[in-house]
């Protein structure tokens, strides 16, 4: 083989490698985005219960996959994302999956996800291959910590207001009406729309109360969505 043949051969190998790198970047990004889209779909169509928020977040998962061939390169990629229970030092420092920014990396107070990502590519008739297995941190900017504390404080306030005159519906209504504007304001300050109501608790003099918190227009990976949290209680 002449020097020129070698030049042509190494140029072609280099071309396959650069194509594989391009594919790796786009595949890693698109399957991660698919996983984020699944999680986002779950969040927008399944309201959370205040008392079960930890379980709700813990049960969330999303996945994405891609399989095919491009320019003579066979590829397979997949990503599976679950809630990241704690922020690793590496995650806090940043994540190099910048192609899905701003949804890559750790975001304080948001839903952080740990994504297991794998990409495998084989080109050049099997001579040029690329394989990656990595863990990445992704995020969706809902505010579960704020929702949890807001829900707890709102339910406490409503219970307190409705317990002052337990057997007098008129006074209870007044107390509820007096407490509500402050609660709505506090929720709005944290980016939530709050609605609440109350009624008979089913037993003599007890009252049932409930609250709905909606975080509207969360900027998700596939567009904006609303996230809803419900809470309820009964006075003794």
């Amino acid at each position: 083989m002449s020097a020129q043949d070698n030049l042509a051969s190494s140029a072609q190998t280099s071309q396959i490698e650069s194509r594989e790198l391009l594919l790796e970047q786009s595949l890693a990004g698109s399957v991660s985005l698919q996983a984020l889209a699944q999680v986002q779909g779950y969040l927008s169509s399944n309201p959370a219960e205040c008392s079960l928020l930890v379980q709700y977040l813990g049960s969330i998962s999303g996945s994405g996959s891609a399989l095919g061939e491009d320019s003579g390169i066979a590829y397979a990629a997949n990503a599976t994302a679950v809630e990241a229970r704690s922020a690793s030092t590496q995650a806090v420092r940043g994540d190099n999956l910048t192609v899905v920014a701003p949804f890559s990396g750790y975001l304080a107070g948001a839903l952080n996800l740990q994504a297991a990502l794998s990409v495998k590519e084989v080109g050049g008739g099997g001579s040029v291959s690329l394989e990656k297995r990595e863990i990445h941190t992704l995020n969706l900017p809902i505010k579960p910590d704020s929702a949890s504390s807001l829900c707890a404080s709102t339910l406490d306030s409503l219970a307190s207001a409705l317990s002052r005159s337990p057997c007098n519906a008129t006074l209870s209504e007044e107390a509820f009406g007096a407490a509500l504007p402050g609660l709505v304001e506090e929720a709005a300050a944290q980016g939530f729309a709050l609605t609440a109501g109350w009624g008979s608790g089913g037993t003599a003099c007890s009252a049932a109360y409930w609250v709905t918190l909606v975080e509207p227009g969360v900027a998700g990976a596939t567009g904006s969505f609303d996230w809803t949290v419900h809470g309820s209680g009964v006075t003794a």
Binding site: Q4, L7, A11, R19, S26, L33, D70
Partner: protein, 121 residues
């Protein structure tokens, strides 16, 4: 005799031409140049995708995506993006490009194709 001379000369010419074709030093060089141009284009597509990000390509309007493709183009490099089969009207494929490349992205809500050409100077 003249016929044999012509036949021998033709045969000799054919052998020489075959040797020239087989040993042509230009062919591997051209292959290397084409491969290099292709790599350049793939790197350019990678840089474009890395710059705008996949969330942008997933959620933005066609107009915004076309504007980003126009901004990424220059005198030697032309980008076009085909969103759900509809291409940016402003980007015109050069008639005789040095190289062309494309990347298909299967995003959660849409499929789009990024096309790029290296323009011959």
């Amino acid at each position: 005799m003249q016929f044999i001379d012509i036949a021998v000369a033709t045969g000799y010419a054919a052998v020489c031409l075959s040797l020239i074709v087989l040993m042509n030093p230009v062919a591997p060089r051209e292959t290397a140049v084409e491969a290099g141009a292709q790599s350049t284009l793939d790197s350019a597509i990678s840089a474009y995708v890395g710059h705008v990000g996949l969330p942008f390509l997933t959620t933005s309007s066609e107009e915004a995506i076309c504007l980003s493709a126009a901004e990424a183009s220059n005198a030697t490099l032309v980008f076009d993006v085909v969103v759900e089969g509809s291409s940016c009207g402003s980007a015109i494929a050069p008639s005789s490009p040095l190289a062309s490349s494309s990347l298909t992205l299967d995003l959660p809500s849409r499929t789009l194709v990024i096309e790029a050409w290296l323009v011959r100077q």
